[in-house]
């Protein structure tokens, strides 16, 4: 394919991090030359990208380009897949989360994640789903749990819909509600970063609109990263956008700029639907 040939020329000159025009230490989390593999399959190649606090960063690109892997490297979820490995560094508040002696569990408590398909714990009530991260880490104080559950459900715009049904099964909610339940569950452990892996791809347009509204309000308190294959969604919700192709970061910058004046030809061709 021609696009593949062009890729070789393009990537050497792109300087992804500088495109957001921020001093490095301002990034809540950033990667330096991050590489990732599934077995022999090299899925991320020398990615250097940073996410700013109180901003939404979207990652777009065609299927299989490594979007999900990239965010799964940011909270050390990637390594849970058998045969998966990484190289390079990821700095959370300028401390490498892949350094020796760092417990991945503590990283995951600071960097929460919401998945593509809503995945509430089917054997738990709505309440227990939200409280799970706290309870299973040993929190027993009921007043504290009650507060955390209410706060998280309110932040996820779900409290009013479920406050009388906290004892119902988490799986009895509608798809959109389940996804907001999963967001509440992630918020309950008070992470600093929320990563979302195509959070709306299993939802209808109304549920999607609610999640997008929710993302806009979450950025006031958190650093938000969202993977999406929906370019319009990236344009609507994000402040910065990164375009990934075949495991390489092609372009990264201010969302409006990237969509209106892409610097790279590959980006433009993807945005205009010429491939993908």
């Amino acid at each position: 394919m021609t696009s593949q040939l062009q890729l070789e020329d393009l990537t050497t000159e792109s300087q992804p991090l500088t495109t957001a025009n921020q001093p490095l230490e301002k990034y809540k989390i950033r990667t330096e030359k991050l590489n990732a593999w599934f077995g022999n399959n090299h899925v991320l190649k020398d990615i250097s990208i940073g996410f700013l606090s109180n901003d939404v960063t979207a990652i777009i690109g065609p299927s299989g380009c490594g979007k999900s892997t990239l965010i799964r490297c940011l909270n050390r979820m990637h390594e849970l897949v058998p045969g998966a490995r990484t190289k390079g560094i990821v700095l959370l508040d300028e401390a490498n989360i892949y350094a020796k002696g760092v417990d991945p569990v503590t990283v995951r408590r600071r960097v929460g994640m919401v998945f593509q398909k809503p995945n509430p714990f089917p054997t738990m009530s709505v309440y227990d789903n939200v409280a799970a991260g706290l309870k299973l880490n040993g929190v027993r104080d009921h007043a504290f749990l009650d507060k955390a559950v209410q706060r998280s459900l309110e932040q996820a715009f779900l409290w009013d819909e479920v406050k009388t049904d906290l004892d119902k099964s988490g799986s009895s909610l509608s798809g959109g509600q389940q996804q907001r339940l999963c967001i509440a569950r992630a918020l309950a452990v008070e992470p600093e970063i929320i990563l979302m892996d195509e959070p709306c791809s299993a939802l209808d347009p109304i549920a999607t609109a609610k999640i997008e509204e929710l993302i806009a309000s979450l950025k006031e308190q958190y650093t938000v990263g969202i993977v999406t294959h929906n370019m319009q969604q990236a344009a609507r919700v994000s402040d910065f956008t990164a375009f990934l192709y075949l495991g390489q970061l092609i372009e990264y910058g201010d969302t409006t700029n990237l969509f209106e004046n892409p610097r790279e030809e590959l980006t433009e061709r993807y945005l205009t639907g010429k491939f993908g």
Partner: protein, 249 residues
């Protein structure tokens, strides 16, 4: 069996020692006690071992050791129960010169182990990875994820396996002849033979005296009732709990 059994069962039948041949009183109380004791002991030995092995195989057994265990487990499933009886008998009964309830329970545990291991592994494997991911992403430790998320999701499948294996061992006769022998008396000592319902049925059914033969029917019905009651009881006690609790978990 229902007709023959029901006419035999009364309070005296289930609370008395076996009678002397020729008389028309006597019951199967030691056999009931023995069977319950054996089921209880097996639940303490074979079932935890099987559940743990199943968890290991499903969650951590993706290596050569895991495949070896899996293979041995399959071989064990196909072991005839009398062979298990002979094995345990040689290792325990002959070595210690004593028939004992523990030897019986160990033989039964060897029979339950592969069934419980296999069903536990299979039910854990049906738990979607997305739930493990969700738990791990919350910063929950791996063992806690396994215990509180994976096991609780796989619970009903594991319980089915356990109940199946209990039903299976409740009726096992051959390995018990070689390990607990059978007895006309209640359990008195860990070194003495005890009775069990399958042995009692086997024994009574071959007697010349019609009263004793009749008792075999009663014993068979009692055995079925015990298995059924356990089944229903365990199912009721472990029914899905998500709907109630904010305190339990």
């Amino acid at each position: 069996m229902l007709r023959n059994g029901l006419s035999t069962i009364n309070l005296q039948f289930i609370t008395s020692l076996p009678g002397v041949p020729g008389e028309t009183i006597g019951g199967i109380a030691p056999a009931i006690q023995g069977t319950l004791l054996l089921i209880g002991l097996t639940c303490l030995i074979g079932i935890p071992a099987g559940v743990l092995a199943g968890i290991y195989l499903a969650e951590f057994g993706n290596n050569e050791f895991g495949s070896a265990v899996r293979f041995l487990n399959d071989v064990l499933t196909e072991f005839p129960s009398i062979v298990v009886g002979i094995l345990v008998s040689v290792l325990l009964v002959v070595a210690t010169h004593q028939y004992s309830p523990v030897a019986g329970a160990i033989a039964l545990s060897v029979i339950t182990l592969p069934i419980v291991t296999r069903t536990t592994e299979e039910s854990i494997k049906t738990v979607p990875n997305s739930l493990r991911d969700a738990a791990m992403a919350l910063g929950i430790r791996r063992w806690r994820t396994t215990v509180s998320v994976v096991l609780s999701t796989a619970r009903s499948g594991i319980i089915t396996g356990v109940l199946l294996s209990i039903a299976r061992i409740s009726g096992e006769t051959a390995p018990l002849i070689l390990t607990i022998l059978g007895s006309n008396f209640f359990f008195s000592n860990w070194n003495q033979p005890i009775d069990a319902l399958p042995l009692r049925i086997f024994h009574d059914a071959f007697q010349a005296d019609p009263f004793t033969r009749q008792q075999a029917w009663g014993a068979a019905l009692v055995l079925i009732i015990i298995v059924l009651t356990l089944n229903v009881g365990v199912r009721l006690a472990t029914r899905g709990r998500y709907s109630s609790s904010r305190t339990r978990m």
